[in-house]
Symmetry: C2
Subunit: 383 residues, 2 copies
């Protein structure tokens, strides 16, 4: 069988740097020891930097959905109104979690691929003056659309409502200043910009968020942030932490701090621009109205089988991108430029895409995409 390498270009999981990967195999140490407390202290500091916040960032063994639940149960009480920007699968997840915990969900329905506008949020807040919180995404992974968190924050700040941002795919890739932008809760998962395997969730609350947390009447235990706060104040965790993932987190945060957060943002913007340029050179159409630094979602062109395209890229070429989720299946495909990726990952993605399109006899000039990418990639913004 022909040798084939595997390339992970999906918006989570993302590739893991070798230093981080190998830390996943380190011998465990016990978590209730001064030795482990030092690791907690180190990652707590690094997480504040990654989040660009002055507030503590708590971490739990869970997927991103776990910390989304934490945001809902720690901020909302049953019966309270939550306004949700429903611009895709992950916006819809906010609504499902809210409904499961008895909140009154007021969705702002947005066409897939479009972002929520500050005006829409303003109108929803006006119509629901008692709303407890507004829930959005920084980047809606299912469509590739980035939301204007800064502008929405200004609108929410005029009301008593809390502002909650799911940064699961966006954090580290998109500019985000939660403290400055009036974000009361921001969260992310480990398998995206943080460059770790999945299994850790991270969440931070503003002072206003904490006040709500203390008063929330939602039932909660594993995700009760009051327990995480009490523990982290002593460099501890309330339950056995995912020790090997925390070893890996410490390594990843070193890499992140070395590149700097501004450097990360610039790199992701650069890779995103190159990808979009390549896609356009292949006469393909972008799906997201406001595409971001995280991933590029592309409309499957007429005459091409989108599911087959993704499958062939993965199984024949070794290049894993993502297809569309649920209703979007086959209609879009999504190329990530997220986490541990550099310029050559873009060449791989576009090279594989051209090959797979050509096999389906899509009318295109082979090489046009990679050439267009090179035009952007030859100049490095961080040089």
């Amino acid at each position: 069988m022909k040798l084939k390498k595997n390339y992970l270009l999906s918006p989570g999981p993302t590739p893991v740097p070798p230093e981080v990967a190998s830390a996943g195999a380190w011998p465990l140490i016990h978590h209730r020891t001064p030795q482990f407390q030092n690791i907690i202290k180190e990652v707590a500091q690094g997480l504040k930097y990654l989040f660009q916040t002055q507030h503590p960032v708590y971490f739990a063994a869970c997927s991103g959905t776990g910390v989304m639940e934490a945001a809902v149960t720690n901020l909302m009480s049953p019966g309270e109104v939550m306004i949700v920007a429903e611009g895709g699968k992950f916006g819809e997840r906010w609504s499902k979690i809210g409904a499961a915990f008895g909140c009154q969900v007021v969705p702002i329905k947005i066409e897939y691929g479009r972002g929520v506008t500050p005006e829409q949020v303003e109108a929803a807040l006006k119509k629901n003056p008692g709303a407890k919180a507004v829930f959005t995404q920084l980047s809606e992974t299912s469509t590739g659309c980035v939301f204007d968190i800064e502008a929405i924050g200004k609108v929410v700040a005029k009301t008593p409502a809390l502002f909650v941002v799911d940064g699961i795919s966006g954090l580290g890739a998109e500019v985000c200043y939660p403290d400055r932008w009036g974000v009361d809760c921001v969260l992310t998962g480990s398998q995206k910009g943080v460059m770790l395997p999945p299994g850790l969730g991270f969440i931070s609350l503003s002072s206003k968020g904490w006040a709500a947390c203390e008063k929330s009447k939602s039932p909660r235990f594993y995700f009760d942030l009051r327990a995480y706060k009490k523990a982290l104040d002593k460099n501890d965790t309330p339950y056995t932490p995912a020790i090997s993932l925390l070893f890996q987190l410490a390594e990843a945060l070193k890499i992140i701090q070395k590149e700097t957060i501004e450097g990360m943002w610039a790199r992701h913007a650069w890779l995103g621009e190159a990808t979009r340029s390549a896609v356009k050179a292949l006469h393909l159409e972008l799906f997201a109205e406001r595409p971001g630094n995280v991933l590029t979602s592309v409309k499957t062109p007429a005459g091409v089988d989108g599911e087959k395209l993704v499958k062939e890229m993965r199984d024949d070429l070794g290049v894993t991108i993502a297809g569309g989720q649920e209703e979007m299946k086959g209609k879009v495909f999504r190329i990530a430029h997220l986490g541990y990726m550099d310029r050559f990952d873009i060449l791989i993605a576009i090279g594989a895409l051209e090959t797979a399109l050509k096999r389906q006899n899509f009318a295109m000039k082979l090489g046009a995409g990679v050439a267009a990418a090179q035009e952007i990639l030859w100049q490095d913004p961080q040089r």
Copy 2:
């Protein structure tokens, strides 16, 4: 600085076999692919074997406490009565979770170190004929006491109540036949007998347990087992799984199936017997009334500083055992013989214990412990 190796002899985390450790560093693959579905299929099969159940075993990214919460919210509705065998810190955790979700908790208070008796459970069930469920531990990690699940199961089976067993430290080390013994819910964590790093929780329900799950009115989302069932039926997971920990799980389950579950139980019993024999030869007193295969808890003898003992063993000798938790701090210490351990780990534990006791001028014959252990260890039950 003198070379010193580190030995993990605590009841979680436990040492990880090298094959399992290295799988934690493998390159990630995407979780929504046929390639990953094969891994899910494989671990689902292996988990049924480990659990000795015909029912599916679900897994989530979380610590053991996460699946304890899953047991409570999926089986109980607010206001319903749960009987809890409170024999230590983990029994108390059942009560705390129940209270957080609005259940009426009826604790059976047991002196630390003692086990709950079938008679006590029977009396509690008689006094609370409407009780929805009885919650116990297979092994109460904080005291080292093993509960007689088979006998308790017989008592619970005479009533409509569900029987829930936290097997977090016990599963794989103590004989347990959930289907035969009338257990409706059994759960465990990854960092104990399963020989993985922490970060995965496992839970299985009987048919009666599933019927309760379908009817439960407790709010839940991340730990809603209905979503896990729907996904696992298609070899999938509802949220992004902890991919690297699942790679490791597949490796660990291979080792477990090679040794056989009966072999695991026999090995743990043998190591436990050797440890107890050594402890007695040093004229130390066991703490647990019904000590098990998981760990040996020992009363700190008069004149010895228990916290200093544990600290010196860890920091000077490189041997991590566990001290007592909360009220038991300093009063007991706990030596695990759990997971990836063989006869020589017992010699290490006892050798380090003798050294640390001697340093505190405890009256003892140096070598008496290791010699007593050897009397048991020289013969291998699996040979």
